[in-house]
Symmetry: C2
């Protein structure tokens, strides 16, 4: 059974590492803020003093941190994984970061005989806790097969999608839809509200057919209760939008819908609402409309 | 048991009227092109020579035609329903038309003691044939209750949403989501294609989670097969988009996402693709991108 290392014990990482531990893998953890290691260590994990030390004690080293520079730091930095990993080991980055950075890191690791997978996830903190994440994996397919039992401890839909960076690309593809669908929900509900329609009835009428989406069913329902708490934070989504814009610029691909979504989420962040959930995009739609979703009862 | 009249035996109306007939209601039908009445008459319906004559023989007069002027013609025109309907009867317009025109017609009918419901549908020709439509009903609630057994012969989700025009408003709300979600699907798949991702795997990875929608599952799958045949025609959707734009202009409501969708579908129609299904929006995305969804394998 492979020895697993786990770096990054935030909202996602704490649930995911706990599920690996419960599945019976010996696990060594590290987190920048050491106090977050305590629950894992109490449950049977061992703690390390650096990413390098995690790598020294592991066959598969997983990290899930915030952004591209954070991944570069824990993998390639002075106390990074690269200085502890032995040839033949596998680094699995489960963060959502730039596909281009992913390929650069993979190529650095390869020089030391260390293989890399990019394996970003979808499904939020609930999916992380319950082990029901979707995991989209790019990189060497043999390494994927070797890690599959570990992925199965964390997720339900686990799909190998291609070479280095392709896991990230598919995650970004996912995030394009998340944002556009959410914009649709906000615009449609504001239209109904402004028209004076009973929002609950409109929601019931449209949520079973061709207009339906995960965003409508979940975040639309939150909006009807005035609930802007995160699920998925605006500030994190803005990072993903930035990555989409960077990747599409590299590919010289125009993105009219996603470009609009990006600017509207920028406006939302400028309102100081970066810590709310993505459904808070309704605040920008309301500002443009000059009226509130839940109070407007003007008929035409 | 109410005597039903049915005007408009197109793709939708032929299936819907057949289901009313099968449910045991006596039914009188009329269609502008008389040959389309034949299958109904052979199945037991009686044919009329004008909308007026349909109204003379019916308690509830249903119409489903293309656009606002068509509804005005069959209801208020020289041989229209209004000249045959007796006080106490109910007119049910199941077309998708302007909520403002709906209210004007309702007010004309009211002067003769005739009640009106606007009851647009969602679910396509399959839903019409199988009796599984969603029906969103506006107008007098007592009239809605009287017509409920007839609606149940045609649909599965039947929801009273408010006063005259509110059925239309909820239908437009539905159509806002249909278009924005479809744009998201096209843009996300083109992003994946341009990145060189295997589209089938990307589709599998993203279709079960937060990115999921009816449009992705149904029209996205069609795009992966290169299938642009309608489901729902671009030319019909453009009519709905025009109605959304008109209603939102009346309400002084800015619609950034839907406005973009409208212009892109205009471009699609300008390409001569009005008779294709709405998933053909990929052709505009491809034109903007300068490459084809199914052939592009350029990695960045």
């Amino acid at each position: 059974m492979k020895r697993v290392g786990f770096i990054g014990l935030g909202i996602m990482g704490s649930g995911m590492s706990m599920n690996i531990l419960r599945a019976g893998f010996p696990i060594t953890v590290w987190n920048r803020t050491p106090s977050k290691m305590r629950p894992l260590i109490e449950a049977g994990a061992s703690g390390a003093s650096s990413p390098k030390e995690v790598a020294e004690r592991s066959d598969v080293i997983i990290d899930i941190v915030t952004d591209s520079p954070d991944v570069e730091e824990v993998i390639l930095g002075p106390n990074g994984v690269i200085h502890g990993a032995r040839p033949g080991s596998i680094v699995v980055d489960m963060s959502t970061i730039s596909p281009i950075v992913t390929r650069r890191i993979a190529s650095e690791l390869e020089k030391r005989g260390v293989r890399m997978l990019d394996a970003p996830v979808s499904g939020g903190d609930i999916g992380a806790r319950e082990g029901t994440l979707s995991i989209m994996v790019g990189g060497d397919e043999d390494a994927f097969q070797e890690c599959l039992p570990i992925f199965k401890a964390m997720g339900k839909t686990i799909i190998y999608v291609g070479d280095h960076g392709m896991g990230q690309m598919v995650k970004l593809c996912n995030q394009i839809l998340v944002g556009i669908n959410m914009l649709g929900v906000a615009e449609a509900l504001m239209f109904a509200s402004k028209a004076g329609v009973d929002l609950e009835r409109a929601f019931t009428a449209i949520s079973g057919g061709a207009a339906s989406s995960w965003q409508l069913i979940n975040n639309g329902a939150k909006l009807l209760k005035g609930d802007l708490e995160p699920g998925f934070k605006v500030s994190h989504y803005l990072k993903d939008l930035r990555l989409i814009m960077e990747a599409s610029a590299e590919m010289k691909l125009p993105m009219l819908g996603t470009g609009l979504v990006y600017q509207l989420f920028r406006a939302l962040d400028a309102e100081g609402l970066g810590e709310k959930g993505t459904q808070a995009i309704i605040r920008v739609i309301e500002k443009l409309a000059g009226c509130s979703l839940l109070n407007e009862k003007t008929k035409i």
